[in-house]
Symmetry: C2
Subunit: 124 residues, 2 copies
């Protein structure tokens, strides 16, 4: 992982939220508790390795909580922590800012920005 250049909170958050996946995962997790395989179905283009890595990162950042239910085919559930939930509106605000600034005419829903996932499914 890239080391920090300054000791400022902004750079620290960005280190966690940077990249394609963190905000997407947060988006799906705000819908409620999800299992590993659920998240894979939600965004089919992430590799399982990336998914585990990103989930760990979000976990370490205190955004996501991992609950492991022991047993047979092994069940693990992921959900947003309270802090994670508090983060959601801030991210949404960024999305709305983007919508209003890069206003190329017609926009869709005002609040609750919704990712339209394509299906470039990569089987493995």
């Amino acid at each position: 992982m890239k080391s920090l250049v300054s000791r400022c909170p902004i750079e620290e958050v960005m280190q966690v939220l940077s990249g394609r996946w963190p905000t997407l995962l947060i988006y799906y997790l705000k819908q409620g508790t999800k299992r590993f395989s659920d998240l894979r179905r939600d965004n089919p283009t992430i590799s399982h390795k990336m998914l585990t890595l990103e989930l760990r990162k979000l976990e370490d950042a205190g955004i996501v909580e991992r609950t492991e239910f022991g047993g047979y085919p092994l069940r693990v559930e992921y959900q947003l922590t309270p802090a994670g939930h508090r983060l959601v509106p801030l991210i949404d605000a960024l999305g709305e800012w983007w919508d209003t600034t890069s206003d190329t005419g017609a926009q869709s829903s005002p609040a609750d920005t919704e990712p339209v996932i394509p299906n470039t499914v990569s089987r493995d």
Copy 2:
């Protein structure tokens, strides 16, 4: 540059703001107009290649405006656009969120989070 996975504004903003530099550059630019060499002095660890690349990206995103004054030694000035200024508080909010969640005891300034740049200066 990585292509988008979904067509959602959040992913689009994050594509612009992701990485170590965008937020740092915005931070320094909110202090006012800066020249290329000023920004290099502000954060000595960025290479000129990265700086131009990141500035272009911010320019394309409508966050930063580039003004070129002809003549030689050629002078160029960078400043936040109105949209860029509107973005600043949103980014600051993320910093504050981080501060309040990862609260490891003592914190510094409440608002106006300030990067403390180190001086691993690389001359070139």
